[in-house]
């Protein structure tokens, strides 16, 4: 009869502990949410940065230039022999088309600059076009090759921002000494430009001050010898900044190598400002205007990055602007990126070669790894006796799954290439190496899937007299299929993204052709990304990012397939 007290005290105790338990639960939920938010924001950051960088590679500026296919340069004797047509001087034709657009360009130095607008490799596609259709010879066609990658970047505003301002105050033109024009207008016409220049000079001076201040900080810890050098340097910087400020405040500004470029466009011509006062501006002619009459409408193009700090000269920028304005340049979808293989020129480089290489490699991987992996898993799980040997095998399979992939590459190099003398750089070898790497993943996933099939299904099949093999293939395998498929596809997706082993067997070579078979030299998407990422030119940056986007999309497609297949084949019992 003393018992009834106990339930009450139990209740009280439980009630007392409840808030703590609920708090713990809430805390845990909060941690979970925080983890997910962190993960998603990391992913979003990655996707955003890749997307922002890669986006511009999907469009490109292409020429839309009239080009006369002069018979004298292709087939002077009119033989119509394809061999002779193929040897035509197509590069010269392209250069002529550019010269026709800018007839004022005379000097060799300027011409070399002008011809750099279109890479020499473009002559190959022009030649192919003519060889395919010799009737074009002697006619005028539209030349549509991509613009040189540096100019492309310039027009996209990725080298420096192109600040345009349109003006409508009247100006008169005075011919100065050789190639110098002076434009004059009402007072204050150029004040705004001058203010801009002054500001940028002050900014540069402030930067020099900051540099000097930093050196001064280091002075205390430096040795006497170093301090001496640095003191001189600080003084230099100070003088430089002073001159800069003084120059900035002068009534007439003379533009130097450290100043932004001010390009003035009028009458279809361009001059580069060298001296500016509030009412007049003198400049070097970069493209002669069509007339010397008074100007009503003109525009100013300001490029903040000084000319010497960029790969595109003011002269080239002016040509690109003129071509663009005349409609001889068009921005369009970068189809070349999806149809070409790798190239030395970024504007001609594409991922088609790497993509086909990846697909062929993955095909070889699939053909080798999937049947072996699944059959091995079935044997180990359903038929093999459980003894020390199979335990040993299991441990080793698990170990194999954790071996760094480059080791598999070395193995492939030593065995497939050096022992069996298989072709270098071939998707076949790459596929086999990746198959070795993927095998343990497939085996482990398949074993787990087979193990998860309830034993009652096996008993049911055995109970009606099915043999072991019939039981496995009629009942266990179909039920394990979704799990096996998921594991296999995840393994293959990993193989698709693998780089290191492919480097070892030579799939890192520069290959300018789309591979045609399992044994032709090829490269793969991740290797292509690696190659481009380590290239120097700026244009590779966006192409690398674009290739990453494509690779990610491929991965997403693969993984979605895995999810889809799992749902499709999932059966309940």
């Amino acid at each position: 009869m003393t018992e009834p007290v106990k339930p009450l005290s139990t209740k009280v105790r439980i009630a007392a502990s409840l808030p703590r338990r609920y708090r713990a639960e809430q805390r845990f939920r909060l941690y979970g949410r925080a983890a997910i938010v962190l993960a998603i924001s990391a992913l979003a950051l990655l996707l955003f940065s890749v997307g922002a960088q890669g986006f511009s590679a999907f469009s490109i500026y292409r020429f839309n230039l009239p080009l006369h296919l002069d018979a004298k340069l292709i087939d002077p004797k009119g033989t119509e022999d394809p061999a002779i047509i193929a040897k035509g001087r197509y590069r010269k034709l392209i250069q002529q088309a550019l010269s026709d657009a800018f007839p004022d360009v005379r000097s060799r130095k300027d011409k070399r600059q002008l011809y750099a607008l279109s890479t020499g490799l473009n002559s190959v596609s022009l030649r192919n076009r003519v060889v395919e259709d010799p009737s074009l010879i002697g006619t005028a066609i539209r030349y549509t090759a991509p613009l040189s990658d540096d100019l492309d970047l310039y027009l996209k505003g990725e080298i420096t921002q192109r600040h345009f301002t349109n003006e409508a105050t009247p100006l008169t033109i005075d011919q100065g000494p050789a190639k110098i024009l002076t434009l004059s207008g009402s007072p204050d016409t150029f004040s705004a430009i001058m203010d801009q220049l002054r500001r940028s000079r002050h900014k540069a001076a402030t930067r020099l001050d900051a540099q000097a201040a930093k050196l001064r900080e280091n002075l205390q810890t430096a040795t006497a010898e170093v301090a001496k050098i640095q003191t001189t340097r600080i003084e230099e910087l100070a003088t430089k900044a002073d001159t800069m400020r003084k120059d900035a405040n002068a009534a007439t500004l003379t533009l130097g190598a450290n100043d932004p470029s001010i390009l003035l466009g009028f009458h279809k011509g361009f001059i580069k400002a060298t001296e500016i006062s509030p009412h007049s501006l003198s400049g070097k002619v970069l493209r002669p205007p069509t007339s010397m009459q008074d100007v009503q409408n003109w525009r100013v193009l300001r490029l903040d990055l000084p000319e010497r700090a960029r790969r595109v000269s003011d002269q080239q920028a002016v040509w690109a602007e003129s071509l663009l304005q005349a409609g001889f340049l068009k921005r369009s979808f970068n189809a070349v990126f999806f149809t070409n293989a790798d190239s030395r020129e970024p504007e001609l480089a594409g991922i088609a070669g790497a993509m086909v290489g990846s697909i062929l490699t993955l095909l070889a991987t699939m053909l080798a790894a999937v049947p072996i992996g699944i059959l091995a898993a079935i044997y180990l799980e359903e038929f093999a006796p459980k003894n020390r040997l199979t335990d040993f095998i299991e441990v080793n399979i698990n170990n194999l799954a954790a071996v760094p992939s480059i080791i598999f590459g070395l193995l492939g190099l030593a065995v497939f290439l050096n022992m069996f003398h298989m072709p270098r750089s071939a998707p076949l070898v790459g596929g086999l190496v990746l198959a070795l790497m993927t095998l343990p993943v497939i085996i482990i996933a398949s074993r787990a899937a087979i193990k998860a099939v309830p034993p009652s299904i096996r008993e049911a099949a055995l109970g009606v007299g099915a043999s072991k093999t019939q039981t496995v293939f009629d009942h266990v395998l179909p039920l394990a299929a979704p799990g096996i498929l998921t594991g296999t596809i995840i393994g293959l997706a990993r193989a698709l993204g693998e780089t290191a082993p492919l480097l070892m067997i030579g799939m890192v070579a520069f290959i300018a052709d789309i591979p045609k078979s399992l044994s032709s030299p090829a490269t793969a998407m991740p290797v292509q990304i690696y190659l481009w990422a380590s290239s120097a030119e700026r244009s590779w940056e966006s192409r690398t990012a674009a290739a990453i986007i494509i690779l990610l999309l491929l991965m997403i497609v693969l993984n979605l397939t895995a999810v889809f297949l799992r749902h499709k084949f999932e059966r309940r019992w």
Binding site: E459, A460, V464, A466, P478, W573
Partner: protein, 258 residues
């Protein structure tokens, strides 16, 4: 000789010992089971009745560590003889499990699977016939005749269990082993299964493991009581329930332990 053969037991077990690794699960079981009747195995959990049942169609072969000693004869033939293929044996000794375990396939395919793998039907018409008779015998035909292509797993528990019985019947077994066939079912489904077992008795030797004393009394003609791996007592059900020889049997039946 003929007369003797018909009165001879369908299944004859002599000195059956079963080991799981080093642990012995059955000790010297001797039992005769007659044809065309229902025999119940009763006893507390872990007494070895299921183990013995699984010996009769060599289901224990699938367990690596399990070892069976002694003789079990089916129609006078040693089923553990070297030349007996367990696949053929299991075709003639069907089995129904505790939890209904239809294949995740259509009702039709569930029943047709056995005949198909054994090649019992030479054409689809014949197979259709086997499926129909089996489902009819299992008393399920009227309920599923118009939805044979629906998954067997979509049926109710009791229907699933009858489907499983139909699946077992389809391969024309002589003996049907049932391991607690009603333990996962409600009373109405149980009653249906019991009715079915009573019908099937005319054609098959049915051996059933059950935890329900009432079920054993209702359905079976013979009962065997197992305790701690030993066969304590076996005989006609009426005698076991009304006048057991052994006190342990008496105690178990009256609910004093178990």
């Amino acid at each position: 000789m003929q007369a003797k053969a018909s009165s001879a037991p369908k299944v004859r077990a002599r000195n059956v010992n079963v080991f799981y690794g080093s642990k012995q699960a059955l000790f010297d079981v001797n039992l005769d089971i007659p044809d065309c009747s229902v025999t119940s195995f009763i006893g507390p959990s872990g007494c070895g009745k299921s183990t013995f049942l699984r010996c009769i169609n060599r289901m224990n072969d699938t367990i690596d560590i399990c070892r069976v000693e002694g003789d079990i004869h089916l129609d006078g033939l040693d089923i553990y003889a070297r030349d007996v293929d367990p696949v053929i044996l299991r075709a003639s000794v069907g089995m129904v499990f505790q939890k209904p375990n239809p294949f995740p396939k259509s009702i039709y395919d569930n029943v047709a699977y056995g005949p198909r793998i054994h090649g019992l039907a030479s054409n689809t018409d014949e197979l259709d016939g086997i499926v129909e008779t089996s489902l009819k015998r299992a008393g399920l035909w009227d309920e599923v005749a118009d939805r044979l292509d629906e998954p067997g797993t979509g049926l109710s528990g009791g229907q699933q269990q009858r489907l499983v019985i139909a699946r077992a019947i389809a391969v024309r077994p002589e003996v049907i082993l049932m391991d607690e066939p009603c333990s996962a079912l409600d009373p109405i489904a149980t009653a249906k299964i019991e009715e079915l077992i009573d019908d099937l008795r005319a054609h098959y030797c049915i051996i059933m493991v059950t935890h329900s004393m009432a079920q054993a009394a209702r359905v079976s003609q013979n009962t065997a009581f197992f305790h701690l791996g030993k066969l304590v007592e076996a005989g006609p059900t009426e005698q076991i329930f009304t006048n057991p020889n052994d006190t342990r049997t008496q105690d178990y039946i009256t609910g004093r332990f178990g």
